[in-house]
Every structure is written in C-alpha cells, then in structure tokens.
C-alpha cells in the first residue's frame, strides 16, 4: 500500500508540474502581457517601458522558474491589474467557490442516490424510466441555459429567490442546483447499477431469508456497498465543480474563484490566471489521488495492478 501511495503521489506531483508549465507557456503565448497592460492607446515605447518595468523582457524559462519558485512557497506574485497579492485574492474568493461546490455536490448526491435506489428497486419500470429521463435531462441541458431558466422562474416571476450575489445562503440555492444538476446523471447511474448488482447478490438473499425488514436490508446492507464507487466519483466531481463554477459564478455574480478567473482572463491578468489554473488543477489532482488511494484501500486488487 505504501509503495502504491508513493507512486501515485509522485505521479500527482509530475502532473502538477506539467500543468504549471503548460499554463505558463499558453498564457504567455496567447497574450503579450506588456501590450495588455499598456492599453489600446499605448505607443511602442510605452509598451517597452512597461515590459521593462514588469520584467516581461526576461527569457521565458527564467520567468517560469522564478514564478515556480515563488509558487512553491505559496507566493503567487501580485495581480498586475488589481495591485494586490494573488494569494490574498484567492483566499478572499475561495470560501464562495468552496461553499458553492459543497452545496452543489450535496444537492447532486441528495437527488441522485434516492433516485438511483428507487430506479434499482424496479428496473425498467415506469419509475426507472422517469428517473432515467431526469438524469438524461441533467446531462443534456446546457448549464447556463438551465441557470437562466431558473432565474426567470424563481427570481423574476415568483420572486422566491435572490438572483445574484452571495450575501445569504438563499443566494446559493439556484447556483448550487444549476452546478449540481449536471453531475446527477453519473451519480444516479452508478447508484442504480451498483444497487442492481448488490440486490442480486447472495448475501442480500441471505439477509432477506433471515427475515430482516426490507428497509434494513436496503439501506444497511445493500446501499452501503453500492455507494462505494459513488464516493470516489464524488471526490472527482467535486474537483470538476470547482473548475466548472466559472460559468455559474459569472451568471449569478457570485464573487468566487471562477468569477475571478473570468475577470482575469478578460483583462489579461496573467499572474492571477496562472495561479487559478494551478489551484484548480491541484484540487483536481489531490481529489483524484485521494479517490485512487481510497479505492486501493477498499479493493486490494487495485494495489497490485
């Protein structure tokens, strides 16, 4: 287990390093930071002055290792636009994104696990079909469209929920549903498949034969085993949600990391963009690593493979 863990850890570190390198190269290839900073009316001399002042004239590898060295100690430099440390900006915005991700994940699990169980109880019945349709709909609807539809219904027509901002928990209801709904189909199918398999297994038959009450069989014996893969998928999905919140945060004007990403990209604030990409990929990599290790712990066969 230890060797396996170390191997995975090393791999994760390499992935982080690769992501940081690619991000650095791509952002610098897409945007001339000095030009972006100088504004439209800048002359070539103005741009050169800014290039020197901000150190953009140094060779790219030098800039990269300089940046990487600082990033390793949690120092992401200063936002060239906002004049504030990138680390401070991220820490300010992270709570909103984390809350949104957690709410979205909770919503997705609360909706999909019961649906999956119900669907598994009577496969191919009408209930199963309805649950399936709901999940297919979740995957088919573009997130922003679904979000705007909710805004129209619950924000404008019914006036039940606030439309934008992040002041109260009510502000998170629509964004969490919009973000979480997309993940429901995967959870639901996995729960359903797991339940169907488990319910057909011998130990469930034994449990039933012992005369245990059906709910006890279902929840205590069957579901516990069926949701194990769901748990590791949830970890990965959480990473996805943190990254996917860019669109949702923009629509609902939630000032989290996703919104910061949108702002920074639109005004070519390279240090912030680089830090966000690194942060989100780091989350994703760490969560995937945890899921891997969890799976390996639960299923010894994986460790040797």
């Amino acid at each position: 287990m230890l060797v396996y863990s170390l191997k995975r850890l090393l791999l994760a570190c390499l992935v982080v390093l690769t992501v940081s390198g690619i991000t650095f190269i791509l952002t610098n290839a897409a945007i001339d930071p000095a030009k972006a900073l100088a504004g439209d009316s800048a002359s070539a001399a103005d741009i050169d002055a800014i290039r020197k002042a901000y150190g953009f004239d140094r060779p790219l590898p030098v800039q990269y290792f300089d940046w990487l060295g600082s990033a390793l100690i949690g120092e992401f430099g200063e936002s060239v636009r906002m004049r504030r440390p990138v680390a401070t900006l991220l820490l300010e915005r992270l709570p909103v994104t984390m809350s949104l991700g957690a709410c979205a994940l909770a919503f997705a699990l609360l909706l999909s696990i019961p649906l999956g169980v119900v669907a598994a109880l009577k496969p191919n019945s009408a209930v199963d079909r309805v649950a399936l349709s709901l999940s297919v709909l979740g995957q088919a609807l573009p997130t922003f469209w679904f979000a705007l539809m909710m805004i129209i219904l619950f924000g404008v027509i019914l006036r039940w929920l606030p439309i934008s901002g992040s002041d109260t928990w009510l502000h998170f209801v629509m964004p969490a549903i919009a973000l979480g709904y997309y993940a429901t189909p995967a959870f639901m199918r996995l729960t359903r498949a797991g339940m169907i398999e488990v319910l057909a297994s011998d130990y469930i038959r034994t449990a039933r034969a012992k005369g245990l009450r059906p709910p006890t069989v279902l929840f205590k014996h069957a579901l516990r085993n069926a949701v194990i893969p769901v748990v590791s998928l949830a970890a990965v999905q959480f990473g996805f949600m943190l990254g996917g919140s860019v669109v949702i945060e923009t629509i609902f004007a939630l000032h989290g990391v996703g919104f910061l990403a949108w702002e920074s990209i639109s005004r070519s604030d390279i240090p912030v963009v680089q830090a966000i990409v690194l942060l989100i990929s780091l989350f994703y990599i760490v969560l995937t690593l945890l899921a891997d290790l969890l799976n390996a712990y639960l299923d010894p066969r994986i460790r040797v493979a």
């Binding site: 103005d46 800014i50 004049r83 006036r159």
Partner: protein, 507 residues
C-alpha cells in the same frame, strides 16, 4: 455561442415578465443601486483602464478643469482660471476652501505632488499616454501652479478634464495605489464608505463637498454599485427590482424593456465612431483595395442610412468626417460625401478594372448582423467579401500585423473632445495606419504641435479632406448606448458616455 443563448433566453424572460408585479425602486431608502458589467481592477484612478473606472473617479475625485457635458465647453472645477503662459506652460489658479474626504485641505501641493507622481515612469501608471506629456508641475504659491509639458501639447486641457484627477498629497504619499484602491480619498461629491474589491462599492454623499465647482452636491444619498457580468442577469435583476440602473443593453433587449411599464429606456448617442478602414498603403496582398476608385466604389455601395435605421436605431447618425462631430478640429464641411449609389459604385469598379468584382477579406468584431449587412451591399455591386469575424483584440492585432484589407472598427476617443484623440492614432504612422500618407501625417503633426486654434483647425481640415477624398476610411455612424432604469429615476445620458450619478435625483 453562450451570448446567443443568453440573448434568446432573456428575450423569453422579458416576454414572460410583462405580467410580473411592478418592482419598487430604492427611492424610499434614497439609495441608487447600479449594476456594472465589468469590475474596476483598482479604484485608484491611475491603475485602471476601463470606463467604469472613469465613472467611479467622477464621483469620488475631482479634475482641475471640467466640461459641460452638453456643450463640451471647459468649465472651472478645482482650478478657477488658467492660461497658456507659452506653448508649453499652463498656469492655473486654484480654488480655495476645498476639503478632501479625510479633512485634508486642497492646495498647490496636492496638484504638484499628483502630477509629478503620476508622470514619473517609475510609478508605473497604467495609461502612460495620459501622463507622459507632463514634464513637471511647479508650485508658484499656495493656490497657483504651473504645468509644463515636454513639448507643445494642445490637448493638455482635455487630459486635465477627464483622466487626470487630483489626490491628497499627504494621504497618497503614505497610502500609495494599494491603500488608495481600498480606501480612496478625494474631493468629489461622494465619499466611499465600503469597498469589496471587484464586487461591490458603497458610496455616500459627502456633506463637506465644495461649492462653486462644476459638480453640484449629490442629490441621492447612497449609491451601491454591484458587478454583474452577465447581461441577462442584470436584466432579470432590473425586472425583479433588485437593481435600479443598467447600461449597454443590447438593442433588441432595449426594444423589449421599453414595453415594461415600471422602466424607462434611453438610446443615447455617444462619441464612439464606427468606420470602415481600407488598406490604401499596400500593406496587405489585396491589390484591388489600393486603388482609390475601388475604395470610393465601396463607399458608394453601402447604404449607411438603412443600416442606421434598421440595425443601430436610437440617436445614431450618419457621419462623414473621420471623427465625432463635436470634437475640436472635426470639420464636417470639408469631408467628401459618399451617397448611396450602387450604379456609380459599379461604374467606378469597372473603371478600376474590376467590373467582375474581386475577393476581399473583411474583418469585424462588432455584432455579426452589422458586418453581414455591409457584406450584402458589397455583394450587390459584384465584390466577393469573406467575413473574418473575431474578437476586438484579435482584429486589432491583425491590423497591427498589416493583414487586413478592409475592417469595420470603432473608436471612443476616450471621451476626449478633440480630434487629436482619434486621427493621429490611425493616420499618424502607427501600426494602425493603413494610409501611410506623409503629407497627412505632417498635417496631423502640425495640428498637434501648437495651441494656436487657427493653425490647428486649418491642419485638421486638410486632414479630414484628404482622408475622405481618398477614402482611407469610410466613416459610418455614431454609436448609441442603451440605458434601462426605473422610471422613478431622473436620469440624463451624455454623449461622452459618462453618467454623472451625482446629478441624478428621484422623480
């Protein structure tokens, strides 16, 4: 893609919203709630580059000079009088009895400190072209200063009017851009009570605001500005009564919002000028467009009136000179007028040897339907245009590379009411210059090198004549900005696209 969807959806939303109960504005709380699409990167006036930054600065800080937003006449503000002592030296008398929000007294030291600080390249002010004309500022006495430019710079007054605001020297020397970005201190009609960077700004009327300047005391007590990037969300908030004022509403949405009884929509003309640029200098590989007759043919082929009527709407108007009509030096009377005349266009094309038309790459970033309308007219006279639709930055970079034979672009002149903010940018030999006409460059140079108004006008008139005669540009129309707001608000839009929130009250 997302934009198209969003537009379609909010159209549906508006159709549904007709039956929605009327939203109450925050009139009762004397609070105007404004939504802006873009965040201000740093509210320190010298460390942001977007229009929202100008709007914010207008409320919190003051300029030495101001202008009447309707007549564009210069009016005193922190300076009470000024005169050019020579070509490079501007002498200004300063207003007495002005206090900053923190109680600091305004005097010559503040002006000298601010102008010298921002013009020092070491301080890395973002918009260098706003400040790099200043050589230095000197104190004459407590309420008199001298501003010296590096070379004769007639547009200095315009720069002192819009982008350059005065800071309290003692506070800023300590605070710097970081602190100023979080706790700004100025002399303006509103003071800042709370800043959540990039999210929300809360302003309150400054009761110690000085009298006699260009800005009245603020009418509305509180202003809350929120950043909502998505236009559909802004519209939804406006309909639900969560926001009182929004702007840059797309034309089709403005049509629908107009039908909502609790709201009012204004479609006001702005200084932003749309034009078609041509490669007259032979920078691209398209040889046809180098022929003046071909460019004139295109100018005659396009029905600008129809485009304005059907696609732009509001207060937009056709323009003939390569600048906004109110700008100093924008002499419309000497501009060549190209009437819509497809027959003449065909004749000119035939004369140039392109009776059977030619292939033409057409670059644009504004709404696709505008570009498509233009293309329709070109096709009608036999030209075979191919649309290259991309983002603004991408088209601008292509221009700089010199690969764009024809492009539809626009320029807002940074709200500076002087042609020196537009014509030299595009005909003065910069990477944007597709005329590369030495005579033209010389006139623009001469117009910008003196404060003598007569000499300036003469040179700029020659430039306007040349640009239109040789059809280096086809000036198209002035843009409109659509505003939507609660009908309780007494709002007036201005052509310089700078809403003056302190002037507005409740009805």
């Amino acid at each position: 893609m997302m934009k198209q969807w969003a537009t379609a959806v909010s159209a549906a939303a508006l159709a549904l919203a007709c039956g929605v109960p009327e939203a109450a504005a925050q009139k009762s709380k004397d609070t105007l709630r404004v939504a802006w699409q873009y965040t201000i990167e740093n509210v320190d006036n010298y460390f942001n580059t977007n229009r929202e930054g100008i709007l914010f600065s207008r409320m919190v800080f003051d300029n030495l000079i101001d202008r009447d937003p309707k007549t564009f006449k210069a009016v005193p503000n922190l300076a009470t009088a000024w005169k050019w002592a020579d070509d490079r030296t501007l002498e200004m008398e300063l207003r007495q009895g002005v206090k900053f929000h923190n109680g600091e007294e305004f005097d010559a030291d503040d002006v000298v400190f601010t102008l010298n600080w921002i013009s020092d390249p070491a301080n890395k002010v973002l918009n260098q072209s706003n400040v790099n004309w200043i050589e230095k500022a000197e104190k004459v006495d407590k309420f008199k200063v001298r501003i010296i430019s590096k070379k004769p710079f007639p547009a200095a007054l315009e720069f002192l009017t819009i982008p350059l605001v005065i800071y309290p020297n003692e506070y800023y020397a300590k605070a710097g851009p970081k602190e100023m970005g979080l706790k700004p201190v100025g002399t303006g009609p509103y003071k800042v009570t709370k800043i959540e960077p990039a999210k929300e700004y809360t302003l309150e009327r400054f009761d110690g605001h000085f009298k006699g300047g260009s800005k009245p005391d603020a009418k509305i007590k509180h202003i809350v500005i929120r950043t909502i990037p998505e236009m559909s969300t802004q519209i939804a908030e406006l309909l639900a009564g969560g926001i009182d004022w929004i702007w840059y509403v797309p034309t089709d949405q403005a049509d629908r919002l107009e039908r909502v009884p609790s709201l009012k929509v204004d479609r006001a003309e702005t200084m932003r000028t749309g034009y078609i640029g041509f490669d007259a200098a032979g920078r691209t590989t398209n040889k046809a467009i180098n022929d003046v007759r071909v460019r004139q043919a295109i100018a005659h082929a396009i029905d600008r009136d129809a485009i304005i009527k059907n696609l732009i709407g509001g207060a937009s108007r056709k323009i003939h000179a390569p600048c906004f009509p109110t700008q100093f030096g924008c002499d419309d009377s000497v501009a060549t007028r190209y009437d819509y005349d497809p027959a003449k266009a065909k004749k000119l094309l035939a004369e140039a040897g392109f009776a059977n038309g030619f292939d033409l790459d057409f670059y644009a970033y504004r709404p696709r339907d505008w570009a498509e309308a233009i293309m329709g007219y070109l096709t009608a006279v036999g030209i075979r245009p191919k649309l290259q639709h991309m983002t603004y930055i991408a088209v601008r970079d292509k221009n700089h590379e010199g690969v764009t034979p024809m492009y539809f672009m626009d320029w807002g002149s940074y709200s500076i009411n002087d042609v020196s903010a537009i014509m030299p940018n595009f005909f003065g030999g910069s990477p944007d210059d597709f005329a590369r006409d030495p005579e033209l460059q010389a006139w623009l140079q001469a117009g910008g090198a003196t404060v003598d108004e007569k000499v300036r006008k003469e040179n700029y008139a020659k430039a306007v004549k040349r640009i239109t005669e040789r059809a280096y540009w086809l000036p198209m129309f002035s843009f409109v900005t659509n505003y939507a707001y609660t009908k309780d608000l007494d709002f007036t839009p201005f052509p310089d696209e700078i809403p003056r929130y302190y002037q507005y009250g409740w009805k």
